[in-house]
């Protein structure tokens, strides 16, 4: 019995010391990480705003749409920035995109993700989102790899699950924007 208690105490002490060490490092790094995340978000909003004025943020939080921000061109609402949650090969992903009021994609950017470097991570590169631009309004967004041109199909080769995740997020965002009907 004494042997079991001694073993449990040693295991507890090792866990306690390790937890304390992690907590200390977290205390030091957490503000910097939060600042980095916020800075990335602001940069992404500016990147996808397509030169339009960014308005106030409206939280949605329905599981697939996190929030939306109206974009105005001086005469009224010209589009929206929508942040969407989806899943890829490495788990949860966040995609941020701007849409015209008809639901067509203006700009898009991959944010937080754990996709495979060299494969799914390609979705972070600017050329990746080019295949979705201008689609979602009159012309539908690609829902599967078979909807892509041969060149785009080859470009997303090896990362089909990432493509499906990005594509489904952009389709959800497009439908959400259509549902807003140009209103806030």
């Amino acid at each position: 019995m004494t042997r079991y208690i001694k073993t449990a105490v040693i295991l507890f002490l090792i866990c306690a010391v390790c937890t304390a060490l992690c907590a200390l490092i977290n205390e030091i790094t957490a503000p910097r990480i939060a600042a980095n995340v916020e800075s990335d978000r602001i940069t992404a909003l500016e990147d996808v705003s397509a030169g339009l004025t960014i308005g106030e943020q409206y939280d949605v939080g329905d599981g697939s749409i996190n929030y939306y921000i109206p974009l105005s061109d001086g005469n009224g609402i010209a589009g929206y920035i929508v942040e969407m949650s989806t899943s890829g090969y490495g788990g949860a992903m966040t995609v941020i995109a701007s849409y015209a009021t008809d639901g067509s994609v203006l700009e898009a950017k991959m944010m937080a993700n754990s996709e495979t470097p060299g494969l799914g991570k390609k979705a972070e590169e600017a050329w990746y989102m080019e295949m979705f631009k201008g689609l979602g309004g009159e012309q539908p967004l690609p829902a599967a790899k078979s909807d892509l041109s041969a060149e785009d199909n080859a470009a997303v080769s090896g990362a089909s699950i990432t493509f499906s995740g990005v594509s489904s997020a952009l389709i959800n965002g497009s439908q959400f924007v259509k549902g807003l009907g140009g209103a806030v």
Partner: protein, 210 residues
Amino acid sequence: MSHMKELTKGIFKENPTFIIMLGMCPTLGVSTQVSNAIGMGASVIFVLTCSNIFISLLRKVIPDSVRIPCYIVIIASFVTIVEMVLHAFVPSVYEALGVYLPLIVVNCIILGRAEAFAGKNGVLDSALDGIGMGIGFTLSLSLIALIREILGAGTITLFPIGSFDGVITLPGLSSSPVRVMTLAAGALLLMGYLKAFFQWKTSRSQGGKA
């Protein structure tokens, strides 16, 4: 064995990737770009060295029946520390390594060295073993990544410094790369050839026939 041999054995004689064949998952997964390989290698060197030191220090305290859970707790703590530090101070490397960074916890090299070496040897030898094995892993990973990236993308991706954007583009190869080298099949193919080469070199140095 001298201290210097503990440091150098991991680089060639007991190279974790090509000789002991440990840590294959991150080796094949991360070796698509040289910068990723260097970032992963540096993280493994840090975790391996720190965990080896702590496990060696605690080897007489840790009961044999719970040594594996203790090793995992220590290794996971150092991986978490590396993850937080990279996320805060080098976010580009943190994002590039993605899922492979937390997976260092289950990297066979770390647990393998803890079990085979640090749990039975002194602090200095364990630290040198960690550094040597880490450097061996980093060099192997970088070699695989260099060959895969050159053939598969026609580029060499390093870290941006000043006006240098970090990417060296090789004319000819970048316009018509051997795309399979960026995929898992290419990684396995290359790994097989490199393993055969190292096997041949080892056999030759031992005086046997390849």
